[in-house]
């Protein structure tokens, strides 16, 4: 299987509406403290992380952040909390990690094998964060704490939603980059969550609705950085698996989708493109002359028809690029994964590109930026506003509010105007059940059964109080999971 495991990490925005200045460190810590779910608390094995190793064969001494964040971090060091307290890591019985990353509550799904498992776990994450917000607001009285699933504060601060894919190390990294770049530049046609206005440094200002929240923040082609000079392809080389056999493609360019359909299409199409790259079945790649600038160009044209320059001197449109990938990768999953899911991805990818080309208004029931376009057009008409009115940024933010009584996406859902994808029962199950046939199943069961004995925990293993360890580094495929469970039936007595 070309892409055996997939995962999503979402950093949420957090604010106290009753205070003039909200302290995200305090608020995020308090939020994590409110989590009622059974979990290993403050025991993440940070010594197992290797975030400074670059895919291009070198290591950096430190990761960069801007001066403002440097100052904040200096202030954080004066707080009466340890690093562990501020991070407040939790590992849940469903195998997920829920913690604070750079002052944002972050939900990292367990590793999943199937696309719809992943979407269910992403939605379960939303529900768990919401559960914590409810409890925190009960303590505070009223609903002063609000949390948003988005990627920007409209003032130049971005936080991420990363999609992750375990891929083979057999091919050179350059090959993955060459084939992925045009796809990633144009994936926002259906994966963009939409954003009012622009925030780019030294850019022409843009008024109105962009396709993507994140595109203004992409400044380089390749980089190990995630907080400055954000790249189209992140080069962090940390597979959380055998470094001989695997890479983890850690994509930081994506938006947080409120629409589960958009999440599924984003990850499903990317997985199918990775499969055909791995199988070396693609004709020569489309080479864009200026992909970094193209990211913004694509985001600011909702038709998908803007001309992008190729190194050959010719031009190509974002829609044509996506149609090229659909033609060559549309059926790749049928031979390389769950055939039913692959069929869904192929069909919906084709339908979405077709609708964008011929009847873009049809996207308004499932693609986040198009849902916003429909909603905001009605609002502007009713209120006599134009795209330049600043109130639209506030309305845009509210689309991402995870409070079901306030959030505009949830309002669309309650009105039956958006496509549902994952049955409620399946989301409920994902709250406390890890995805079957993955190492997350072992991790989750250990959290459930051996909570008091766990000293340290990580994606790749568990350390117990008595010195025993459980190494999950090589547990990638369902047969690996089965073999591990069968190899030590006393340890896994719950099986």
């Amino acid at each position: 299987m070309s892409v055996p495991l997939i995962g999503l990490e979402t950093e949420y925005g957090i604010i106290r509406e009753d205070l003039d200045t909200s302290d995200p460190v305090e608020e995020s810590m308090k939020l994590l403290e409110c989590c009622p779910r059974k979990s290993v608390f403050r025991a993440w094995a940070y010594h197992r992380e290797h975030t400074h190793v670059d895919m291009r064969g070198f290591q950096v001494d430190r990761l960069e952040q801007d001066e403002e964040e440097d100052e904040f971090c200096e202030q954080d060091r004066q707080r009466p909390y340890s690093y562990w307290e501020m991070k407040s890591d939790r590992v849940l019985v469903n195998g997920a990690r829920f913690y604070n990353d750079h002052t944002h509550p972050e939900y990292a799904t367990p590793e999943c094998r199937t696309l719809f498992d992943l979407v269910a776990h992403d939605l379960a994450g939303e529900e768990i964060v919401r559960e914590c917000v409810r409890r925190r607001n009960q303590d505070l009285g009223g609903s002063p704490l609000q949390v948003f699933k988005n990627n920007t504060d409209y003032s130049g601060h971005s936080y991420g939603t990363h999609d992750n894919y375990l891929i083979s190390r057999r091919l050179p990294f350059d090959t993955w980059v060459r084939y992925l770049v045009p796809f990633m530049v144009t994936r926002q046609l259906f994966a963009g969550a939409g954003k009012i206005g622009s925030e780019g440094r030294n850019d022409q200002p843009f008024y109105g609705l962009q396709l993507s929240q994140r595109s203004d923040f992409v400044e380089s082609l390749l980089s190990i950085e995630t907080m400055t000079k954000r790249p189209i392809i992140n080069t962090r080389d940390e597979p959380h698996a055998s470094t001989q056999d695997y890479r983890r493609l850690h994509l930081i360019i994506g938006d947080a989708n409120m629409s589960p359909y958009a999440t599924a299409l984003k990850v499903g199409t990317t997985r199918q493109v990775l499969a055909v790259i791995d199988q070396e079945r693609l004709p020569p790649a489309i080479e864009l002359a200026d992909p970094v600038s193209d990211i913004k160009r694509v985001s600011r044209d909702r038709t998908g028809q803007v001309a992008l320059k190729r190194t050959s001197g010719k031009t190509i449109t974002p829609l044509e690029i996506q149609e090229w990938y659909l033609e060559h990768a549309g059926n790749s999953g049928a031979e390389d994964g769950d055939p039913q899911e692959s069929e869904w991805v192929s069909r919906e990818w084709a339908r979405t590109l077709h609708d964008l080309r011929h009847q873009p208004e049809k996207l308004a029931d499932r693609i986040d930026w198009a849902i916003k376009e429909s909603l905001f057009n009605d609002f502007m008409e009713a209120e006599g506003l134009s795209w330049k009115d600043p109130v639209l940024q506030s309305v845009d933010l509210e689309y991402h509010n995870i409070d079901p009584d306030r959030g505009l996406y949830y309002g669309m859902q309650q009105a039956g105007e958006v496509t549902g994808l994952i049955p409620e029962k399946r989301i409920e199950k994902a709250l406390d059940t890890p995805p079957k046939g993955t190492r997350a199943e072992i991790r989750g069961q250990m959290v459930d059964r051996e909570l008091d004995r766990i000293k340290k925990i990580h994606w790749t293993g568990i350390e117990f109080d008595n010195g025993d360890t459980l190494d999950l580094t090589d547990i990638i495929l369902p047969e690996d999971v089965e073999r591990m469970l069968n190899s030590n039936k006393e340890q896994f007595a719950w099986k």
Binding site: T152, S374, L375, V395
Partner: protein
């Protein structure tokens, strides 16, 4: 099997790209749901995005 539920749901309502007569259509703005949404949007604090200051994340 539960895993297939989303697929079955989609199969029921989705169209193929070359058929223009079915699949989702533009939301009907005259529906009561859309009116409620417009009311919800009017309640949004116009200064909300200005007050919403976040720190840089990854």
């Amino acid at each position: 099997m539960e895993m297939n539920d989303p697929l079955r749901r989609e199969e029921k309502k989705e169209s193929t790209p070359d058929r223009k007569d079915d699949g989702p259509s533009r939301p009907d703005v005259s529906r009561p749901g859309r009116d409620d949404l417009l009311k919800r949007m009017k309640k949004v604090d116009p200064k909300q995005s200005e007050k919403y200051k976040q720190r840089t994340g990854q």
